[in-house]
Symmetry: C2
Subunit: 209 residues, 2 copies
């Protein structure tokens, strides 16, 4: 069966976004630095049609595999709204995307394969729809922190990957502030390291009591 | 020249000790779980004279190398006082240890090679004395968080290793709360991963402005 996964960038001091974040500063001060490694990869540049070039090593293979496995994504309302203002016309998903929201809205189709579906009846329903849309591919819980926390707490996530950037942000958003630490346990399954970034992949399960 | 290094265990949610820590609970609730991997290693069991047995793989080599490189340690006053109550008669250092304190006290020699020296004139002086005592070997800033933070902020640390345990503590002590995030920058130099623990080693430098 396809997997439900989370794949986040995180600073060495544990933030997935920097301080002073908001609608016009979605990654917070310095938060772009978490993802700097990714912008340099050929697969990322391809995916966003940024033109030729880019790195082709282990980090690029990581990005390629991430795009290849993702059959659908789930977003929280705020992350969607921030993206709605800032994504290019060809939104950077190229799959169905399910948005958790109270807003009733018809699907929003973008060029390049992204269609946003607005789900009003909760995280289980969004996951069911996303699984169906993804087929044999995996479902990514894309964010933000609160949405990821809800899926982790509910025991619905199979895998969590953190890409640890060697930077300090000094403040901002912590994923695990939104997670019940008694609800989940982790087993390391893979580490991929380059000078720019360290990818740590964990299988997620319920704790043994 | 010998190096000044920090080597800490940390939970996946970023804590070096759990919640509700105090004199009788120095690692905080659940904090022992950060170090569980280490207690299983042959080199650690040898070092603490816990008897034969223990694991002999990559994590054991990590512990062996850690003990072998350490020629002297520096401790904050609180960490020393907690240890003074709980260490066995053969204190688990087997090197000179320099304690940052206002207390004027003659050196305290323990069986097995550990002597505690009490330093009243600041972190630079403690480091100078520790370097001298360590000779060709390295100086470890052992903790706690505030002491490590002081040395990092002052630009006196060459290397930081974090051993990331796949557990959540939900609260406790964060190293980087005690660090000025504008004062230090990191370059990944090594990753060693086992199912039990992920060792991330960084070179520490001043940020390029």
């Amino acid at each position: 069966m396809s997997k439900v996964f989370v794949d986040l960038g995180i600073s060495l001091d544990g933030f997935i976004a920097g301080p002073n974040g908001g609608p016009t500063n979605p990654l917070g001060d310095g938060g772009l630095g978490i993802h700097a490694w990714m912008f340099a990869q050929q697969a990322f540049r391809d995916h966003l049609q940024l033109g030729p070039g880019g790195e082709t090593g282990a980090d690029n293979r990581y990005v390629e595999a991430l795009f290849a496995r993702t059959g659908a994504s789930i977003l929280g309302k705020r992350m969607f709204e921030e993206g709605e203002r800032s994504w290019p016309e060809e939104a950077p998903f190229r799959t169905p995307v399910f948005v958790l929201t109270r807003e009733v809205r018809t699907p929003w189709e973008r060029k390049g394969g992204t269609t946003f579906f607005f789900v009003n009846d909760g995280i289980q329903s969004a996951l069911r729809q996303a699984r169906h849309a993804a087929g044999a591919r995996d479902v990514r819980i894309s964010g933000g922190a609160r949405t990821v926390g809800q899926y982790l707490d509910a025991g619905l996530v199979d895998e969590l990957s953190q890409s640890v950037a060697p930077i300090l942000l000094g403040g901002g958003v912590r994923l695990f502030d939104a997670v019940d630490h008694r609800a989940v346990a982790f087993d390391l399954v893979e580490t991929i390291a380059s000078p720019a970034i360290t990818h740590l992949r964990y299988a997620v399960r319920r704790p043994t009591s």
